[in-house]
């Protein structure tokens, strides 16, 4: 249980410092807003066919806002080598991973909570689908994305220009998840008849989530090894 105790301590530290500065969250949310605005230029929201891109836009927001946060999460440990402080402390590598994951995940959930309603509002989207399923998909997708993202951010942090490396590592690895959730979201938002197919996607994503979370947990030792 020591693992969870230290993980919670770490998550608390990150969230507390975010509470003090509010930098990451605010940036993420403004960034999400910008993406929405840019998309509203690109596709005339009045045009009815553009409704079809909404699932895509939702995930573009989550991905890009997420990357900002993921980057920060380990870069912020580089100043004054605080990462070394954590590594020299009596905690498992897994608890560093888990703590960072918790902090990032709670942050992205807040971003979603703010930006998705805003998106619906701006694109005048009437929600017909199933809300619980929608929330489930968002949750599962974010979970997988952040789980892998935190892991790869830890990996990329070893590079001098980690904020550039992370997207390169992250995008290819998470595409299966992203394809799955975009498809599922699309079905749930626009075409509830095909629900079984959406559920198949959800299962696929869940399987991917679980596998990767476990694999990350096992491999993080090697990443954070000195």
């Amino acid at each position: 249980m020591n693992l969870f105790r230290t993980a919670l301590l770490l998550a608390k530290k990150d969230l507390y410092s975010e509470l003090k500065t509010k930098q990451i969250l605010v940036t993420q949310i403004i960034f999400a807003g910008l993406v929405i605005v840019v998309f509203s230029f690109a596709f005339d929201p009045a045009n009815n066919t553009t409704k079809a891109v909404i699932p895509g836009v939702i995930w573009v927001i989550i991905v890009f806002a997420g990357i900002l946060g993921l980057n920060r999460s380990f870069i912020s440990e580089q100043r004054n080598d605080t990462m070394q402080g954590l590594l020299a402390a009596p905690m498992e590598a897994a608890s560093i991973y888990f703590g960072k994951f918790l902090a990032n995940f709670s942050m992205i959930l807040v971003v979603e909570l703010v930006s998705i309603p805003f998106l619906f509002l701006l694109f005048d989207f009437k929600f017909f689908g199933s809300l619980p399923y929608f929330i489930l998909v968002i949750f599962l997708g974010s979970f997988g994305f952040i789980a892998i993202g935190t892991f790869l951010a830890a990996l990329a942090a070893n590079s001098k220009s980690s904020e550039m490396l992370l997207p390169l590592l992250l995008f290819p690895i998470t595409t299966p998840i992203l394809i799955g959730v975009v498809q599922a979201t699309k079905i749930i938002l626009t075409n509830m008849e095909k629900l079984p197919s959406a559920i198949a996607w959800i299962q696929l994503v869940s399987a991917y989530d679980v596998i990767f979370f476990v694999v990350c947990f096992l491999l993080i030792d090697y990443v954070l090894e000195v």
Partner: protein, 253 residues
């Protein structure tokens, strides 16, 4: 008083490279791959039946499919050696993983070029966005990222460790590429082996299958030659680095 950052002379730990045996193996592999390539060329262009609609353009099929198969194989080898490296921490495993990934990237590029060339005559377009092609492209990006990790600065063991981790994670895409056409309803890319939702391309003439199998064997032998060559080349580089360092130390003296 002046400073002294001088180094003392040190003896290099002999990095065991059994030279002669390696040479022989390399020669054998070279011969084998040359011969098998010639044989496969015979099978492709003379033995195998010509496809009715696409004629000669169809011949690229053999290279296309064999390279795709090889890409899978190379990345699997990388995957296995990555795991081995994380357990055993021997530099040789890392070298194998790296060289194999590099070869894999080359063959993925071949798939990604022969595919479009073929597509030009089969589908009348260079590229379409459908699952197998996309996942193949992503596979390519994953292993380019793998090589990027290798290019990071730092000591080799750190890079090897991180690359190994990524090599394990990244392998997840390979089965996805393979199953892509089975999971998604694909409009274009045919399924040859096994069942799938679209039966469009299924089935293949016997002579073609034989030719294909021969080509795949030839490519696999070629791969083992390249891998062997690449690994001994990497080892050479490592050795040269060691000698350089040794030389520097004696110069410092």
């Amino acid at each position: 008083m002046s400073i002294n950052l001088e180094r003392e002379k040190a003896v290099l730990p002999g990095s065991g490279l059994t030279e002669t045996r390696g040479e022989n193996l390399s020669k054998v592999l070279f011969g084998a791959s040359a011969i098998s390539m010639l044989v496969s060329l015979y099978f492709i262009f003379i033995f195998a039946a010509e496809e009715s609609t696409m004629r000669a353009a169809q011949k690229i099929f053999y290279f296309h499919v064999s390279s795709a198969w090889l890409a899978f194989l190379t990345f699997f080898v990388t995957f296995v050696f990555s795991i081995l490296f994380l357990i055993k921490r021997k530099r040789i495993f890392d070298t194998y993983a790296y060289v194999s990934a590099e070869i894999g990237v080359v063959f993925t590029i071949i798939v990604l070029t022969t595919g479009p060339i073929w597509a030009r005559s089969a589908w009348n377009t260079w590229w379409v966005w459908e699952p197998r092609l996309i996942t193949t492209l992503i596979l390519f990006f994953i292993y380019v990222a793998y090589i990027m990790i290798r290019q990071m600065d730092g000591v080799w063991d750190k890079k090897a460790r991180l690359a190994a981790v990524f090599g394990i994670i990244g392998f997840a895409d390979v089965p996805i590429v393979f199953f892509a056409i089975r999971w998604w309803q694909t409009k274009f890319h045919p399924i040859v082996f096994g069942e799938g939702p679209s039966q469009k391309g299924g089935g293949i003439e016997d002579t073609m299958l034989v030719a294909l199998l021969v080509t795949i064997t030839a490519f696999t032998i070629l791969y083992s030659y390249l891998l062997h060559k690449g690994v001994s080349f990497e080892n050479m580089k490592i050795k040269v680095d060691q000698y350089k360092e040794k030389l520097r130390e004696t110069l410092d003296k």
